[in-house]
Symmetry: C2
Subunit: 137 residues, 2 copies
DNA sequence: GCGTTTTTTGACGTAAACGTCAACTCTTTT
DNA sequence: AAAAGAGTTGACGTTTACGTCAAAAAACGC
């Protein structure tokens, strides 16, 4: 009995495109850029569970404003454990840097939300003042 | 005595570039795109305190992954109160949408941080296992 | 078996966000 | 007055991240 009873589930390009709302061109582009590595059935691409997971991370990274190049570097952080692992401690350092970035971004976002809330309050005060004026006309 | 005792402080293009680590081309580009509106002293640009504040917001927005077009729409949220205010309630709606976006992003970032932490733990376990093996050699 | 749909491989096009000269103007320094 | 520095307007170039055909092969539905 071998340990390599891998989940054989795969997805066609169309399936992934529907699920994540991207075009085939996008997925092929990501493959070209080596962010995805679908296997082949003849000449058709078959995206593995791993590809799907990576795609999720790619799109998430994009929403955070990371470039594809940055994302490519980071993807490996999330997909160790497959095959032999070489530079674990170097990886940990990269992870730590990435983590700081994420945390910094989150904190800045938090601040931005606070700022916006403050602005909203000012605006609401202005609104109610104008309402007051109208009523007094 | 007029109310318009505005802070007359202005900045040259070079000053702002140094402070925010951007090139002159970038600031001119933002002006061209109507994100900034420096005044003129002859043919030289003079950036106002307002421009400086807007630039901060622009760069912040960029770090969050917003496009300049999106940022342009949002900038006005933070700079009401100057001159007459027209569509306050429409503005409040925009603000609310923007707020939701920011909150969603923050939450997703939080999740990403958690995921990363989990990965780090796995990696650390792998590291210590290898250390164990070495010791047992 | 045949039409329809999906997918593939090129190859060229494009929008966003600047970079990178070149050629001038203006101011400041020496 | 001459050189140096900072800033200005074009204008074309570049990178990123795909979009958009076209033509052909494969797979699917009946």
């Amino acid at each position: 009995m071998t340990m390599t009873e891998s989940t054989e589930q795969t997805f066609t390009i169309g399936e992934l495109c529907q699920e994540f709302d991207v075009t085939p061109r996008t997925l092929r582009f990501y493959e070209y850029k080596e962010l995805l590595a679908p296997i082949r059935d003849g000449q058709r691409r078959l995206f593995t569970v791993r590809d799907r997971a990576r795609l999720k991370l790619i799109l998430r990274g994009k929403r955070f404003g990371f470039s594809l190049a940055e994302i490519k570097d980071l993807l490996d952080l999330y997909h160790l454990g497959d095959g032999q692992v070489t530079q674990l401690s170097a990886t940990l350092e990269t992870a730590e840097r990435h983590r700081s970035e994420l945390v910094a971004k989150r904190d800045e976002l938090e601040a931005a939300i606070q700022d916006l809330d403050a602005q909203v309050k000012v605006t609401q005060r202005l609104l109610s003042e104008r309402a007051g004026l109208r009523a007094a006309e």
